[in-house]
Symmetry: C2
Subunit: 214 residues, 2 copies
């Protein structure tokens, strides 16, 4: 099993956490998104993933993109340490929390979008920072309200073991800190993230622990 | 079962298709995203969904956001006419195709993002159109390459019955047409969408057939 990854990619970080939580030994293949105009556009990676995004999982002749699809695939094929709850309502909740990050925060603040803002729309650095923080704040505010009020929340986003939602939360908060977002309004989320980050599986997946970090 | 919907919301449109394909009779509750500054920000809807987005499913005391989480929940609780394949690889592929639309095209072109571009960044109407078409083209080009080369593609995105991926494809192409995107480069995708649109379940879910269309 091979995971194509980039140390700072929030989506790849999610899958690295999932692999570690499940104890799956995958080969990590770095794809440098900034070097030489972006290795993701080179012919080798283009043939594997026409989307030119990381992560990508290669397994058993299949090339699978999309971090949440990869995590669910790992969960279905490697049932140890389940990342989705056993009940339909629980799974629905974990998927919705994950998608609130993976659909409604992250893609709008992704590298290629920020690049379009500066390259094509002449947006200033300050405006780009404000854009980034706007979508993070909007998304995390809603998530904080939901997670702090739901009875299903435990030490982690759902219950007392990490799920796919925690695999999404930790990278999003990591990136938010990099862009100087104020996280004080989200005490429930940051407390959950601290609990996660204390676990070796999360720690070993963090960007600064990756071989391609520089 | 209640679905909070807006006739033009691409994400709500996905769930309306899924409900129709499964023959589930849900009450559709319209939330007008533009009227009076947006009904989604009113206190009633805010209490249900702090994300202020549609769709939202109310079922059995649960308020569930996120269209893909809702579709998988419907699929797990109403197994007739499955919208995900029976095998882990097939499910992974359908999820990845769905997320390529629901994460990487739609959110960047969503109403609130377009509004930010004009309100906060003084982006012109022409530039906003170009933004919209850029992300649609980038996403559909990758999807066309993948769907046209994969052996798992059939009359629909995956095999010969509609799946969650088709529930995502049709609304995305509908919206692309509204914004004058050139769909000629995606013959496989448009052929699949035509086959879908010929089915009553897809037709009845289309924006112009909704009671709140005006």
């Amino acid at each position: 099993m091979k995971l194509y990854t980039y140390f700072r990619s929030s989506a790849a970080y999610r899958v690295r956490i999932a692999l570690n939580l499940k104890g799956i030994d995958a080969e990590l293949v770095p794809v440098h998104l900034l070097k030489d105009g972006g290795e993701q556009f080179g012919p080798a990676y283009d043939a594997l993933n026409p989307q030119h995004l990381v992560p990508l999982l290669e397994h058993d002749g299949m090339a699978l993109g999309q971090s949440l699809a990869i995590i669910e695939y790992l969960d279905e094929t490697h049932p140890q340490q389940p990342l989705l709850p056993p009940d339909a309502r629980g799974r629905a909740r974990v998927r919705a929390l994950s998608q609130a990050i993976a659909c409604d925060i992250h893609p709008i603040d992704n590298l290629r979008v920020l690049k379009y803002l500066s390259d094509k729309l002449d947006v200033s650095l300050d405006q780009k920072g404000a854009w980034y923080r706007h979508w993070v704040a909007l998304g995390l505010e809603a998530l904080e309200r939901q997670v702090s009020r739901d009875r299903e929340t435990g030490s982690f986003c759902h219950g007392d073991t990490p799920t796919m939602a925690d695999c999404c939360l930790v990278p999003q908060l990591y990136n938010a800190r990099r862009f100087d977002c104020d996280l004080a309004p989200y005490p429930t989320l940051t407390a959950i993230a601290s609990r996660c980050e204390a676990l070796p599986a999360f720690d070993a997946a963090s960007p600064d622990k990756q071989p391609d970090a520089r």
